[in-house]
Symmetry: C2
């Protein structure tokens, strides 16, 4: 039976006991509205940890003023059942007022890798992510923490933060989980109309196409980006925010595909903003 | 015999072993040039910990571009002897290039309490302090960390950081240590000429005078501040940067002395900037 802990001090006390037994703690931070992507993270954590903690916390500091904090799906009953099935031992569900009490104000800012991609249209987003993840890490003290490649830039930011601040945790990136037709799992997919849902398949299709290009020997970053941009742009319901290629995990500008590069896209379908990505690797 | 560790990974390994033995770690971060103030911190740590770690690291990120990073006194041989005498078990002396490698860039910013007092003339100073202390905390994982009241604002900033980020460490503030004539111990006192050294006594004298005023029933913050400002201003070699009174430890503006308030001063003698402070408490 999964245990639910809401109090920060109770969570600390639980972890203290776990640490005294020298057990390995795996941690999956989430905002709830759990889907197969999250459950994959939990199962992955379960396979390499003695204790799995998942947090469910819709973090206000990573939403912009015009973003969907209030509308973000909250499905607590389904989430707790899903956690239990996925082998989670403890669900940590702190209250906003305990995480950000009156007078709170200390921020973690990761430079460079936060400024591009989603950072351009979501100023402050990664500062909010880095800050809440640091707080959760300090409370849960995991040996390993699991994040989905779906939010690839988030993974890059957190890996840099952990390295730069000498944190005692390993960030594990888990591959994207997709619906059978290719759409990347996302809590925000529930916002899509049927037509938008169909149109959104252009994302995974164009990423797969780019992978084919690289497999066929294409190495020119501009060429690949233009092809992907063209394909997505041809979908009438799609409104491209960015199609970008950077080295991975450094997120440096590159002109040719060599080693690992991240092809990442952000596209709006109506008011719903979806992201997707693929890591391309040139094998000479 | 005190052990010196220069490598971050060796320090981590040492701490890992210590933690497995369930020992309490006390930590004294310093920039070296140790004086009796530091040694008091170390003895205090020693009295409540199983293992005492002191770090000696002149942290470049807390010095402004026109400050004394290069000139800051470095007295390694004396420091190591002093640490040994004070009961330190391990001196951690990381290299700048290991703490801030190529491409490094993640900062901790504490809001509000960093903007007043020394924050006005030393922009970025407390960001550098909060960041390096976080890094050192993550490496050394202390149960308690010891800081001198001499840098009272630094203590306030670090206490807020620890609380806001849910860090697993207790910040212990240790009273100011003074020379027999009253001058607060500081590594920067070595910069003073004999005349400046004498003139600088006006700091501790005026703080003691303020304490007398409060003991005699004076509660008016403006009155006390003006008295102190007048006394220091009357010293020809003194160049006042600030004389301020705030609630402690919140650093909120106050008009009357009630509960604990911090009277803090920053004064230049020639090119040497000294700070001093006293916590005044109204006992009704």
């Amino acid at each position: 039976m999964v245990t639910v802990i809401e109090s920060i001090s109770e969570m600390r006390e639980f972890i203290k006991q776990v640490k005294l037994q020298n057990k390995r703690v795996g941690f999956v931070p989430t905002m709830g509205a759990l889907h197969e992507g999250h459950l994959t993270l939990m199962r992955e954590a379960q396979s390499v940890s003695d204790i799995v903690v998942a947090s469910i916390f819709v973090n206000p500091t990573q939403f912009g003023p015009n973003e969907d904090y209030d509308a973000y799906p909250r499905t607590w009953q389904e989430d707790i059942t899903a956690c239990q099935r996925a082998g989670v031992d403890v669900v940590f569900r702190p209250r906003v007022v305990d995480m950000y009490p009156e007078g709170w104000g200390t921020w973690i800012s990761v430079e460079q890798v936060t400024e591009k991609l989603c950072g351009q249209t979501r100023p402050g987003h990664f500062r909010g992510v880095a800050t809440v993840v640091t707080k959760l890490f300090n409370i849960v003290q995991p040996d390993k923490a699991f994040f989905g490649q779906k939010d690839a830039q988030q993974v890059v930011v957190l890996m840099k933060m952990v390295r730069d601040l000498n944190m005692n945790v390993e960030i594990v990136m888990v591959p994207i989980v997709r619906d059978e037709d290719g759409l990347a799992k996302s809590s925000r997919n529930t916002y899509l109309t049927a037509d938008q849902r169909t149109a959104a398949l252009v994302l995974s299709c164009s990423l797969a196409f780019a992978q084919q290009l690289v497999r066929q020997g294409q190495r020119d970053v501009d060429f690949i980006r233009n092809e992907v941009q063209g394909k997505i742009g041809a979908e009438p319901l799609a409104n491209v925010e960015y199609v970008e290629i950077y080295s991975f995990p450094e997120l440096q500008e590159v002109r040719t595909v060599s080693g690992k590069v991240l092809l990442a896209v952000a596209v709006k379908f109506g008011a719903t903003r979806l992201i997707d990505n693929i890591i391309l690797e040139a094998k000479e």
